[in-house]
Point group: C2
Chain length 460, copies 2
Amino acid sequence: MRNEIPYKIYLDENEMPKKWYNIRADMKNKPAPLLNPETLKPMTAKELEAVFCEELVQQELNDKDPYIDIPDEIQKFYKMYRPSPLVRAYCLEEKLQTPAKIYYKFEGNNTSGSHKLNSAIAQAYYAKKQGLKGVTTETGAGQWGTALSMACSYFDLDCKVYMVKVSYEQKPFRREVMRTYGASVTPSPSNSTQVGRKILKQHPNTSGSLGCAISEAVEVATTNEGYRYVLGSVLNQVLLHQSIIGLETKTAMDKFAIKPDVIIGCAGGGSNLGGLIAPFMGEKIKGNADYEFIAVEPASCPSFTRGKFAYDFCDTGMVCPLAKMYTLGSGFIPSSNHAGGLRYHGMSSTLSQLYNDGLMKAVAVEQTSVFEAAQKFARIEGILPAPESSHAIKAAIDEALKCKETGEEKTILFGLTGTGYFDMVAYQKFNDNEMSDYIPTDDDLKNGFDNIPKFPGNEF
Amino acid sequence: MRNEIPYKIYLDENEMPKKWYNIRADMKNKPAPLLNPETLKPMTAKELEAVFCEELVQQELNDKDPYIDIPDEIQKFYKMYRPSPLVRAYCLEEKLQTPAKIYYKFEGNNTSGSHKLNSAIAQAYYAKKQGLKGVTTETGAGQWGTALSMACSYFDLDCKVYMVKVSYEQKPFRREVMRTYGASVTPSPSNSTQVGRKILKQHPNTSGSLGCAISEAVEVATTNEGYRYVLGSVLNQVLLHQSIIGLETKTAMDKFAIKPDVIIGCAGGGSNLGGLIAPFMGEKIKGNADYEFIAVEPASCPSFTRGKFAYDFCDTGMVCPLAKMYTLGSGFIPSSNHAGGLRYHGMSSTLSQLYNDGLMKAVAVEQTSVFEAAQKFARIEGILPAPESSHAIKAAIDEALKCKETGEEKTILFGLTGTGYFDMVAYQKFNDNEMSDYIPTDDDLKNGFDNIPKFPGNEF
């Protein structure tokens, strides 16, 4: 062992966070509010409560309180699968022969296979507390749907999942995990909703997108008594719940006097990245510390690096509120060539604001290079990563190799959000050298941008 | 929280075992030696070294030394995924409303999905140390093959896996995990070996068995320069490596002054059960403590509860040495109806001796009831268990329910050997109510027993 830092740092149960951290309270430029698409005025709590659970609406709108208590019942559930380990990647450092110190926060050691459970259990709890019958949602790669199924099963709530068609087909076993937890799973777009039928009429061969699936799930939630819609990413409330990742990480690092120089996370809707960086970003905003933050996105769906910062619909069917965010346009459907999640056209408003304020960088990486990094990581560190997480691995390895060139002993922290056990169709493509890269042309992007609504104050 | 015992007990790195425990050194009746099937004399080290790595042969034959050092390189690898947590099943206790206290040692949080990695890394290490090019093996459910692929990749060894055909077909994604780690995977029986061709000629439609796959892997190892055969269960050396499970468990329990009354493990070839119980059994043998040990096996492949204690072949092709063990006969092939592992016709010689000496009990459970227990456990404790592990869950729940009736506050410990993420075909059958139970008739068993070799001293 090269020093006294163990391979894995686990917090004791009594060191686990008892409050979530709400980064918005400390941001100088607050994320812009959600707008009602008809009135173009900020959505009121009452309007939001038609779609979302009451207490979650309060969390969504709260940009004042920096800390919010984690209810006892949720803390109890967290203890079943948390704390997650902060891992020192000694073996990876050795193989790369880098002077950098690499750490990752591993969120994959639970049956949902990812960090998504952190918010799923919170959202299910508030739905149960409100006396609802059940919830509806969409899922892309299937991690969020699995997480929500587990959470709903725990609280005995009905769970209706709309699963992006391409994932439904690529991942039949994800569906069975959800069914094992008692959820119903429908491939999206489907004929079971008005908006699904409309999308299918326009694009009969579509492989679906998160935006479509959101529209369907919202329709079902708002037309069925006792149901609300829940979402696994993008929203402020989700980033709030996911702050447990960053809080645990920071507590573990502080315990061993480790200070990260670079903090890296993959970014689809922003739930993992927002959660991981939250307490570190809070310090940076207050001027108490400096960190470099890097969002890693797929080159096939480059919201940060090539998108517009504008008000846009969160869903393809344009039934949801408008959010101000980096977006490729709600009509943008990434190539089905791209494996796994991170296929969302938009991005968390909170992260979008931080990025726009220059507090965070972003890079886009190509699929094949991501799977090369994934295979390398699996072989060296013994964990088969999810394709989504592997975007962060790719960027972390690149940073470590830069350190090898410059001789800098940087401390690199990245979020290993999940495992790839349900992504073997994609790995098989890679193993058989049948994987290719897709980068949208400027024209592809222009088509997407044309769908972004135009109104005064929404120039881009 | 009901008392001060946390949901999960993780040892610190410096508390991890540095030696394996060799139960045979403390057994009064030693397990019978392997016999050369031609001479019916105990296999010598030299004979065994044609098949196995030299240092592993020494471990196989060693019934004198109670402790054997874990080499530094293996300790280093262990630190990547160990210690595994000892979990207090608070939620399960609450749902069952039992006064029993339930603990499980969870070995599934690594990419191989099970405890098999504990021995795979040791065997790969000794193969590398001996300067071999590679190793061959068989795999049933695929956990051992995955574990060995990971271990070989770490030490840059070639890895040839013969996978039982029914699992190969039910678990295509297991194959891809092995390929991701660089292994070659062949469905067994195959046309690539003499013994495979012979078995296929006799049983063209066979779905394979561990016994067949072992024969093929041994043939390839002994006919290729620089290769040896490695095995994931049954052997003494494997139980030795797996003692890390029990040693960690006992250290964790001792730390919190917990004393188990009942210790439960599933039993296929015996690797997990033997590893979990080892240090506890050692105490029992020495008269320092009393524990009740329960081996749980599938009713479809009931070696302990309905088998014979006799010398028998370890493989279907009858190319391996004879082992004295509880066996159903090397020709016994369990119904392909049975999902997952635990399909082996024999049982560890060490465990067989302990069972024959009355130091351990065994129960057989039926498949559908096992999946009912698995689903219940997944929903309550948040971990989707492997079908194999679920045998132990079923027995542990039964014990806890007995305590509910009697009011006894027993402490129950069971081994949760792995996760079921690659077993979703079986779960799907269960979810669709298409799962059935198979129990061999006395005639089925008699056919198997007829294959057990007859010679003086091998009466049964």
